[in-house]
Symmetry: C2
């Protein structure tokens, strides 16, 4: 895909991540774009805000998009490499593409998705890296809880 | 694990599935049990009831259990083989065991979980098979929507 467009879409996910951080939450954000480029849903990790461990950023954006008959051609944009849970979401529902802000602070399932035909656009965005690195350094226990790491 | 206990726990998931069916929903139910055998959370597919595509039975049970520091020793019980989304949940959070009511009407990611060290107890329960078979026959479009199948 066009990288300028990917970076613009990433901006939506970054805005969600920053809003989450301001709420005292885990700063991961996501957005789901339709095949026609329309924003279907956006969201952020809500573990802290809602006390809900099931709402990672990608699932929140997916939920916000509501019921869809097909995800063909859609793009999930996320500030961070998707964990197995969110990678499973992408694979199960046939989301066509994932734009990943960074995979340096956490390496999730995006290689597995690529093996299964999902287009992966890894942006290696320095602002996304800095956001997570600083958060994880300050909140290691909370971050480990969010990825099920003991 | 003890199969009698597995069948008893499956009863909780089946009760959730039947409650979902009575609400007009997709009849898949789940329950998360702690390492000590205590019920941590139970739930059911809520696509129809809440208009929320992100709430499969397993994620609903996981959500109902609230924030947990560790899932070591826990058991996810589900009436149906977990899809990639729910299989990813199990893998990411380190849930130790999955009790599967049936994998005949839908074959999800339980083999993949077994490869990654999750104990799988497949019960081949005829009541679970009958519940799903009848539902899918009557509601093929809704079922396909729920598993992202066009």
């Amino acid at each position: 895909m066009d990288l300028e467009l990917a970076r613009r879409w990433l901006g939506t996910a970054v805005a969600e991540a920053r809003a989450g951080l301001a709420e005292g939450g885990i700063p991961v954000g996501a957005a789901l774009y339709g095949a026609d480029g329309v924003l279907l849903g956006r969201g952020r990790n809500r573990r802290v805000q809602d006390g809900d461990p099931s709402v990672h950023a990608e699932t929140d954006a997916f939920r916000a998009a509501g019921r869809q008959r097909s995800y063909r051609g859609t793009t999930m944009v996320t500030t961070l490499s998707p964990c197995w849970y969110c990678s499973g979401l992408v694979r199960q529902f046939g989301i066509s593409r994932v734009v990943v802000g960074e995979a340096e602070t956490f390496h999730g399932g995006h290689d597995w998705l690529a093996e299964h035909g999902v287009e992966i656009v890894l942006l290696d965005d320095p602002a996304c890296v800095a956001l997570m690195r600083e958060f994880v350094e300050r909140n290691p226990a909370l971050w480990n809880e969010d990825i099920g790491d003991e």
